[in-house]
Amino acid sequence: MNPLLELTQVGIEFPTPKGPFCALQNVNLKIAKGEFISLIGHSGCGKSTVLNIVAGLYQATTGGVVLAGKEVNEPGPERAVVFQNHSLLPWLTAYQNVELAVQQVFKGKKSKAEMKAWIEHNLNLVHMGHAMHKRPDEISGGMKQRVGIARALSMEPSVLLLDEPFGALDALTRAHLQDSLMEIQKDLNSTVIMITHDVDEAVLLSDRIVMMTNGPSATVGEILNIELERPRNRIQLADDPTYNKYRQQVLSFLYEKQRKVDDSMPVEKAKEPEKEQAAEKVA
């Protein structure tokens, strides 16, 4: 089977006053259509950098990304990104935010009425139909993120890129949004790459979990296939031995094989376990 998205020997160096800093090297990944991939790793391991290279926001120093037979070298709506901090335009309503994307992507392809229907369809998909004429400062964090997802989906992307989409949300809201995302992904059969810190989120949502080694010169450490039946139910899976085995495998990769030993970043170190605990409480 031909992969939809292929990363070949991707590496990136950032210039610093002390000479080039190699953030990533030899990242190889093949992603099929309809696959849900999670990238997991410690802070600063270059997960976001991988995503930004796929998005076209960063240029790889070595290697490259090919999407549906075409090389990626600039950002574009066929690789829509949902950013961690929603990045909705604060002066536009939810509807107008999605409209900006739809007008840009479907200019000349859809009539005004079709566009309106398509915008509303996407907002309804993320259950934001009731608040589509509210501005970002009038809705909650979870709702903003829903609108962000609706905006990305409205571009009909070949690959949906999620950069820690639920990282800034409280545990309950996060669980809601994870369920919504699973539903949407099932309905649309979207190809998704998601960055996460959250082991449960990764196991629950993904077809494959890509675990990254610590930087500098980070790369793909292990890839774990999650062969759990869909639709997945978080409550049933909590007692499922297979689920717990996957979870344990990811945790052991993160905390045994790739244990953070960098003392120069004590804050980061302290933050990580905390997040894990919070995540465990949800499940």
Binding site: G56, V81, S87, P90, W91, R135
Partner: protein
Amino acid sequence: MNIALSNIAWLEPFVKVAKGENVAQNVQLITKTIGIPLVGILVFLMLWSAAANSIDTSLGKFPGPAQVLEQSKNLLAEHFAERERAEAFYERQEERNAQRVKDDPTYVPKIRDYTGKNTYIDQIGTSLVTVLSGFLLASILAIPLGIVIGLSANLHAAFNPVIQIFKPVSPLAWLPLVTMVVSALYVTDDPVVPKSFITSVVTVMLCCLWPTVINTAFGVATIPKDLVNVSQVLRLNWITHVRKIAIPASIPMVFTGLRLSLSIAWMVLIAAEMLAQNPGLGKFVWDEFQNGSSDSLGRIMVAIITIGLIGFFLDRVMLRIQRSVSWDKSATLR
């Protein structure tokens, strides 16, 4: 809506006291919002009055509040007297023309303008028109320039030294050059507006450009990275990026700049009018100074207070506009 709200906001405690709701609390609120500023003003008036009494000049005592009040009344009275004279002039002219047409039907009546002196109110009008023209002209130049500079780090680096050098230049330094250039370039037999007006407007413009340029550029340059990324992912072209992202995102900073510019414009205008002899408040002050009558100092003091009040009023108007166009309703604008 804004106007209604703010009106209600300060009237509210009075209404509540009248209704008998929370009397003690609302009386306290009234004292705090209206009483204390009033006390401040009264103390100032007393100090001013005492100080004025002890300063002697060759034109008599320094004007105190009483003289200022008297002179404001005089200036208003002069204005209305002048208006009456103008009306009487036009009436007489009309009568005369009607008579002449009656005597000789082929006569085409000429209408002559009344050429009485400018009153204080006229001068305020001239000053306002001049400052707003200069400010508008400056804004039309400064906002686009600021956006272009803000979008490109290289352009910013290129323009920044020039801006920083011209920013602190006093209007008085520009004025001789502007006067000469205007005299050389603005040559018509039938000028639509007087030269002194153009000179003042250009000087005001040159001095109040910079805050808007700098703040707009800063606003555009500091658009959150996330929003810039959104624009890139959507592949917005330059124009759309500016229209949909750069301008709305920098509106708060643009207005910070515009308000600074307008207050500078108003300060500069007075100096420019003094030297360019544009018939506004600046010229009024200068003429009174040259005039040297016993009323002059009082009249100048009236002008100073007028200038202060109008400056304050202009800033309030800008604040209103800023509030109505700002998307960030949670920000406190003052």
